[in-house]
């Protein structure tokens, strides 16, 4: 048989350019194969620490993102009513001078009238520094509606957290338990890790109301009731304590379990007993006398009682051994049987204690005690938004860390390991800064870690200093701000009105806001002939739903057309065994009038004369973002990138090196500084790690600390709520603070549970799929073919009781609104929970999709059901957020689900359905709509540019 000749030697391209992916927040390394100057193929970079060669569905589809017709193509100025989508194309000079003309007077008179909030970004160390130098207190990124509970709960407890702060010891762990880990966070690292565990036959357990993705391959699935993870975890702790399956040595050495809690009535009650040097201390078992907590050779007595003051360990035992945490007491609430809870506790104990491992690696701790080896307890955990997006999420995250602590697994071989710059105790973080002086910068960074009521951001009259009310009594530890409250608060003038809202990559008029319907109204509402939020400047690369609601659009580049730094000052790409940072660089030059937002920000800063952004003669200090990345110094010798500093050989600390960017590009767009072997575990207490971290520039001096089982900062707020101290909360918040700011991890019912009594019994959740990221996926030509439809998934109980059938629709109602949507049956689901994929639903006309696109006709958001405010209590409506951190409590949502007969609702169109957004000028040919009020001089020229079809469009 004659076989045809097959081409087997095809050359992919003529050049490979290595950069960093940005199809989600994972920051994988990619090889971009170029052919004749165009992107031909994208694959993972095998040498890259994050993805080690693999790449997810989104990453390989990035090739379609750089040709997407939704790409904005030039700066725009609104010419019609807000929301109408009527824009004119303007020049960059016009755009920048307009922005400066709005911002400059604010800086000179009332800097707080500018609110600058950024959505999905990886440049917070730049954007925060810019806002600090502008002098507005109103800055944050998107952590408040994302996962600040996860970050803050971890940092206040262990000086690190889940997600990018650490990862399981994939090589050694024998049992891996996930709580509330949806399919997206994090992406490739957790998939690679699960693959490794499966290959070794290690066991994977998922606690999650929904069984998809990682939960689908887990060896065991616990379909918990949403919002009760904390209660389940405390019940596991109960079982472990009851059986004595606790690592006492670990607790005594590395945690504050042996510290003494002051029992004397008064302003010090519940704080640690301190010595004359204001240091907490322990009772040494050898002498029975007080001894320094960090003293060499000291053997802390966990059970001590000294002058009537008991140890944290004794308080813990008293709290968690009470019958209220027994499996039998929590089972029905959690939707998990007592026997399954006991079985999970037994499994954790067996692996931690009966299958313990030891690394033959000597090390020395910060006290000077020498250890012959590194004992490990090979149980590890990961948790994400499923536990954090609740109003009890902060304490639930703390509870999970406590579970890891009593098992003695954190930072030991086989357990959960922190990644540089973590571990980092709250003492090494700044406190929040907020005091404004016209024409001057803030005295420090906006975001930080509050230690006591003294650190709150309050004005002299006690009202919140920030527009989002972050760091106020309503949510004292809001370390990431409350982006979801900016528009509602600015609209309500509570705590005050602002002038200009400056947003970057944040789809606030659609999927990134609670109560999206109402937010659209807030953005367009007028008072006395002016918009209530007078000016909105927005930067995005694409024609998202938010574009229509802005007055001035600063179009950004795509991720393949820009510089970026993934910095140790921000959100780096470290691994437990190496600090790592990375860059993006333009592997393609933009073919339209767009600019890297960070370069634009530096340009604006120079035009405004902001400190650090201008030379002495007033000229711009930085040509663009790349220039800043290489030459900016945050502290002497420490800049955005750690690699190739000084003469090119210096790591961490060193003078700026003009060749640095080129060296990163040659090195595959990343750099790693490896942790020495003796420093690789027990990092918070490991002298070799601490010395290495100082040398690298992560801190200025060693920062050893104890894990905070008992949290003094929390207790200080309880004390204030009890009436102690000069700074007092408003009376209506006292009970809530007493409950939420408990110094030990506790559980209380999510605030949303109250809605059950008003006829909304069902939990409603969303999750992002692995193949989409926020709104980006569904405009991607390949990804939307994979997941272009979303349904509300109903559990068997609801499906059968109401007689649902395939193709049915349901009316879903909450206290805040109603939606009518397509449904589907899902058996592998908690029986009282419904859910859908997040942000598949699009508004008609957005993202350059056809108005008949399924995303716009049958795609839907749950956001319309979710109020940003809790119900009225005595005339006060607090935000629908965690009372500790202000994290948006998306997953507290309760709804009612009712089948809708075909006669009562025409299939094929969801409710609510909003008016089609006019197509803004964009690369794919969106028509120019001249609002009839203004006509730009360069209109004709712009039109000519715009109508050119993008190269590569098919």
């Amino acid at each position: 048989m004659n076989q045809p000749r097959v081409e087997t030697q095809r050359e992919v391209g003529d050049e490979v350019r290595q950069t960093t992916c940005y199809m989600c927040a994972c920051r994988c390394g990619i090889n971009v194969h170029m052919k004749s100057g165009k992107v031909a193929y994208i694959e993972g970079n095998r040498d890259h620490p994050i993805n080690k060669g693999v790449l997810c569905a989104k990453g390989a589809s990035g090739i379609m993102q750089v040709t997407a017709p939704s790409r904005l193509s030039a700066p725009l100025r609104r010419v019609g009513p807000r929301g109408s989508g009527a824009f004119e194309v303007i020049s960059w000079e016009e755009a920048l001078s307009t922005a400066v003309s709005w911002m400059k007077p604010l800086r000179e008179t009332a800097p707080e009238k500018l609110a600058f909030f950024t959505g999905r970004d990886q440049s917070q160390s730049l954007t925060g520094w810019w806002a600090q130098n502008f002098g507005t207190p109103n800055y944050a990124a998107h952590g408040g509606f994302c996962s600040v509970n996860m970050a803050a709960g971890g940092i206040y407890t262990i000086g690190g957290a889940f997600w990018e702060f650490g990862q399981p010891d994939w090589e050694r762990t024998k049992l891996f338990v996930m709580f509330g880990v949806a399919e997206d966070h994090d992406s490739n690292p957790i998939k690679i890790g699960i693959g490794k565990l499966k290959a070794r036959g290690a066991r994977v357990i998922s606690v999650n109301p929904v069984r998809t993705g990682y939960s689908a391959v887990a060896d065991d699935w616990i379909g918990i009731t949403p919002g009760t993870d904390g209660l389940l975890i405390l019940s596991l702790i109960h079982c472990l304590l009851e059986a004595g399956k606790v690592d006492l040595d670990y607790l005594a050495q590395w945690t504050n379990a042996p510290l003494l809690v002051n029992e004397a009535e008064g302003a010090e009650k519940g704080l640690f007993v301190k010595n004359a040097e204001s240091q907490p201390f322990v009772i040494d078992r050898r002498s029975g006398h007080p001894a320094p907590w960090d003293g060499k050779g000291v053997q802390p007595d966990l059970g001590a009682e000294w002058q009537g003051n008991r140890t944290v360990f004794r308080h813990m035992a008293e709290e968690y051994l009470t019958p209220e945490y027994a499996p039998e007491a929590v089972a029905s609430r959690c939707g998990v049987t007592p026997s399954r809870i006991r079985a999970l506790a037994a499994e954790l104990a067996e692996v931690a204690f009966d299958q313990a491992i030891t690394l033959d690696q000597p090390w020395t701790d910060f006290r000077g005690n020498e250890h012959a080896d590194m004992p490990g307890r090979p149980v590890s955990f990961h948790a994400m938004r499923g536990i954090s997006a609740h109003s009890n999420g902060f304490q639930t995250a703390r509870a999970l860390h406590l579970l890891q602590i009593i098992l003695g697994s954190l930072e030991t071989p086989g357990g959960y390991r922190l990644k540089p710059p973590y571990p980092k105790p709250i003492e090494a973080h700044p406190t929040p800064h907020f005091v404004t002086t016209p024409g001057k910068p803030l005295t420090g960074p906006h975001l930080g870690y509050v230690r006591s009521p003294d650190d709150l951001c309050l004005l002299p009259d006690g009202s919140p200093a920030r527009i989002d009310k972050a760091f106020s009594w309503e949510n004292p530890f809001s370390a990431h701000g409350l982006m979801h409250m900016v528009i509602p608060n600015a609209h309500a003038g509570d705590p005050y009105r602002i002038d200009t809202l400056f947003l970057y990559m944040a789809n606030m008029s659609w999927n990134s806001s609670m109560n999206s319907t109402r937010v659209m109204e807030m953005l367009t509402e007028q008072k006395d002939g002016e918009y209530v939020i007078p000016r909105i400047i927005y930067s995005d690369a694409y024609a998202s739903e938010m574009v229509a609601y802005a007055d001035l659009i600063l179009p950004d580049t795509t991720y393949l057309e820009r510089h970026d730094c993934i910095s140790l000052l921000d959100r780096p790409i470290s691994e437990p065994d190496a600090a790592g940072d990375a860059i993006r660089w333009p592997v393609l030059e933009p073919d339209r009038e767009v600019r890297c937002f960070q370069s634009v920000l530096l340009d604006l800063g120079a035009r405004l004369g902001l400190p650090g952004m201008v030379n002495e003669d007033g000229s711009p200090k930085f040509k663009d973002y790349a220039d800043y990345i290489v030459n900016h110094q945050r502290r002497p010798g420490v800049g955005p990138l750690m690699g190739f500093r000084g003469n090119g050989e210096a790591q961490g600390r060193g003078a700026p090196n003009p060749e640095q960017m080129e060296r990163y590009i040659e090195n595959g767009a990343f750099y790693q500084a490896h942790v020495p072997a003796e420093a690789s575990f027990f990092k918070p207490w490991n002298a070799a790690y601490q010395d290495w971290a100082v040398k690298l520039g992560l801190y200025e001096s060693p920062q050893p600390y104890l894990f905070n089982i008992w949290s003094e900062p929390l207790r200080r707020f309880q004390l204030a709520a009890e009436g102690f101290g000069p700074r007092q909360p408003p009376d209506h918040l006292r009970d809530r603070l007493k409950q939420a700011m408990h110094p030990l991890p506790i559980w209380y019912a999510p605030f949303g549970d109250e809605d059950a009594a008003f006829g909304y019994p069902v939990h409603a959740l969303t999750q992002r799929p692995m193949d989409h990221y926020h709104s980006w996926g569904s405009q991607n030509a390949w990804l939307r073919q994979i997941k272009g439809h979303n349904y509300l998934y109903l559990p068997t109980k609801i499906w059968e009781v109401q007689g649902f059938a395939e193709g049915d629709w349901a009316r879903v109602s909450s206290r805040a609104g109603t939606i009518v949507v397509p449904v589907a049956h899902m058996a592998a689901l908690n029986e009282n929970t419904v859910w859908t994929w997040n942000a598949i639903g699009k508004r008609k006309g957005a993202w350059a999709l056809d108005e008949g696109a399924p995303e716009a006709t049958t795609g839907f958001l749950l956001n319309h059901l979710i109020s940003e405010l809790l119900p009225d209590r005595n005339g006060v409506r607090l935000s629908n957020s965690d009372p500790v951190t202000g994290q948006a409590a998306w997953f507290d949502q309760r709804v009612r689900v009712e089948r809708v007969a075909a006669e009562d609702h025409v299939r094929g169109t969801v409710e609510p359905m909003f008016e089609k957004l006019p197509d803004p000028p964009r690369e794919g040919g969106g028509p120019i709509r001249n609002g009839g009020q203004n006509s730009s001089k360069n209109f004709a020229e712009s039109l000519r540019k715009l109508l050119r079809l993008p190269e590569g469009t098919r």
């Binding site: 045809p4 060669g53 569905a57 065991d220 966990l302 059970g303 004794r314 405009q779 390949w782 999709l849």
Partner: protein
């Protein structure tokens, strides 16, 4: 009609681990990207109301209800299985569809394909897709333009879907060689043929999900009766262990 080779020297194919596949779709778009750049895989109405395009590999998910246990979800990647008795080959009227004698890969000679669609009809696995723009049949080539491609680094000479798979659920090799890594995996894990009753003798194998359920650790015994001794008794017993 087209003849199959009597035997092939090698049986190159994929082993897909259903215990590890999380359904992330990475293999789907890596395949789309690689083959779009090579043989072209068109998309129709990509930003429209009913987008449809050619994909050589798709991942579907299925719910499995199990008696007396929680329901499960299995994600299932599907592509050409490079069958020994490939009905898509024998049905082809022009000889365009063929199975290579040297390695067993089933390919389409696009120059000879008339786009009649018989092969797609004959394939019991739905593993072939007609490219609407080109009018020819497309299918998994096992990345024949990667696995022998000397312009690629040696470590990259494997199918794009295998190279990209984040959970390492996809394995490539010679299933005719009992000592190959893939054959060993199939033996160790009880790999099976998809729909063996169709008589197609697929080369690709699937590894079944492992048994799921609660662990087998012995229940924990309380240290003592805390109700009787109080916390003080528990503390004495507990700390006495140090």
């Amino acid at each position: 009609m087209t003849a199959l080779p009597h035997s092939t020297a090698k049986k190159l194919g994929l082993v897909i681990d259903l215990d590890t596949c999380v359904g992330c779709q990475a293999c789907v778009t890596a395949c789309k990207g690689w083959n779009d750049a090579g043989i072209g895989l068109s998309d129709q109405d990509p930003y429209g109301a009913d987008p449809s395009g050619t994909f050589l590999n798709r991942v579907h998910s299925y719910q499995v209800t199990v008696p007396d246990a929680p329901a499960q979800v299995v994600t299932f990647p599907r592509s050409c299985l490079h069958c020994d008795d490939a009905p898509c080959v024998t049905v082809c009227p022009t000889g365009a569809s063929y199975k290579r004698a040297e390695d067993g890969i089933v390919l389409v000679n696009e120059d000879a394909c008339i786009g009649c669609g018989l092969c797609a009809w004959a394939c019991p696995y739905g593993a072939r897709e007609m490219d609407a723009a080109q009018g020819v049949m497309k299918k998994c080539t096992l990345c024949v333009d990667r696995i022998y491609n000397e312009t690629l680094p040696e470590e990259d000479r494997e199918p794009a879907c295998v190279r990209t798979c984040p959970t390492n659920a996809r394995h490539f090799g010679d299933l005719a060689d009992p000592d190959s890594k893939v054959s060993q995996l199939v033996a160790a894990r009880g790999g099976y043929d998809l729909m063996p009753d169709m008589g197609t003798k697929p080369t690709n194998k699937y590894l079944p999900p492992r048994a799921k359920g609660p662990g087998t650790a012995s229940p924990l015994a309380p240290l003592l009766d805390i109700k009787a001794t109080g916390i003080a008794g528990w503390l004495d017993r507990m700390l006495g262990k140090i």
